[in-house]
């Protein structure tokens, strides 16, 4: 992370100096950032870094409006903007009476969660599942919800999706994609599983 920070700051200085001979160095640094960007894991920090990266790239375009690289930079900006809107939450740890409130607090304090993936079998009771669903519906602005029954080991009561769950889900007014499935199988457009013969 430090290296990205350092490079972005250096780019800013180079841009501010308005020296065209610095273009090659800027290009190299942008390439470096492009590669490093993939490695970023910290989601909260990533969001802040995206903003900074977008500002830096937009500044570059302003300073060098005729650079041939601008076309690619504009594409990069669009990509960064798309990615920065996605903040994932995956609940794959066992959720029980002991830690359900801790998880709720984490969700409440998280900003901008947009994609949620829940392994339903990880919940010990239906009540705790509903509490988490409620928390997500109230405190996040989710666009994608993936409910997975998961076929691994689990300790808890059998949870089916019923009307009460859908009433909570229906409060998620910004929801764009709802996926409900059993098992780890992904990809709905392939129908050549073992049962197909």
């Amino acid at each position: 992370m430090y290296t990205i920070d350092k490079n972005l700051k250096e780019i800013k200085v180079l841009i501010d100096n308005q020296k065209s001979k610095n273009k090659r160095i800027i290009d190299e640094k942008l390439d470096f950032i492009q590669k490093e960007k993939e490695k970023i894991e910290s989601k909260a920090y990533r969001s802040a870094m995206y903003t900074f990266a977008i500002e830096s790239l937009e500044n570059f375009i302003k300073k060098y409006p005729y650079s041939r690289r601008n076309l690619y930079i504009k594409k990069d900006i669009e990509k960064i903007k798309r990615n920065s809107k996605k903040v994932h939450l995956t609940i794959k740890e066992q959720v029980n009476k002991g830690n359900v409130d801790l998880l709720r607090r984490k969700i409440i304090s998280s900003k901008g969660i947009s994609d949620v993936h829940i392994f339903i079998k990880k919940f010990d009771t239906d009540e705790n599942f509903k509490r988490i669903l409620n928390t997500i519906s109230k405190y996040t602005n989710i666009r994608s919800l993936n409910l997975n029954f998961y076929n691994g080991k689990w300790k808890g009561e059998s949870i089916d999706l019923n009307k009460a769950h859908f009433q909570i889900i229906s409060k998620m007014s910004n929801l764009r994609a709802l996926t409900i499935k059993y098992g780890g199988y992904t990809g709905s457009s392939t129908y050549f599983g073992p049962f197909m013969g």
Partner: protein, 122 residues
């Protein structure tokens, strides 16, 4: 159905499903911004007629699921109201025939309809 590019209709032998069930609620109609609805490998109850309110729905994918009743849709005609539906995937046991009025889907581009060749799944 001017935009229809792909239609696949197949029949396959049965397989065992897990025991998990989904019982839909009418409130699903409140998700009016929903574009993609996917359900895989589950026993599902009839989809309520409020699905017709999902005007922005582009993909309806019910894959390898079994229905608890004879009909996958509580009101089969409700699907004809999905004016933006582009991709329809219906794969399962309880689907003896395509929903009626499917020909009225204006934006449909592909239909994948695959059912399992058995009278009744036990």
């Amino acid at each position: 159905m001017n935009k229809l590019k792909v239609i696949k209709i197949k029949a396959f032998p049965p397989r065992e499903l897990n025991g998990y069930r989904i019982q839909f609620d009418n409130s699903i109609g409140n998700l009016q911004g929903l574009k993609i609805l996917k359900i895989e490998n589950l026993n599902i109850g009839p989809i309520p007629s409020s699905i017709r309110k999902l005007k922005k729905l582009e993909t309806l994918d019910i894959t390898r699921s079994d229905t608890n009743s004879d009909l996958i849709f509580a009101n089969p005609e409700s699907i004809s109201r999905l004016i933006n539906l582009k991709n329809l995937v219906l794969v399962g046991y309880g689907m003896d025939m395509l929903p009626s009025k499917i020909d009225t889907l204006k934006s449909i581009e592909s239909i994948n309809y695959i059912w399992f060749k058995i009278e009744k799944y036990t």
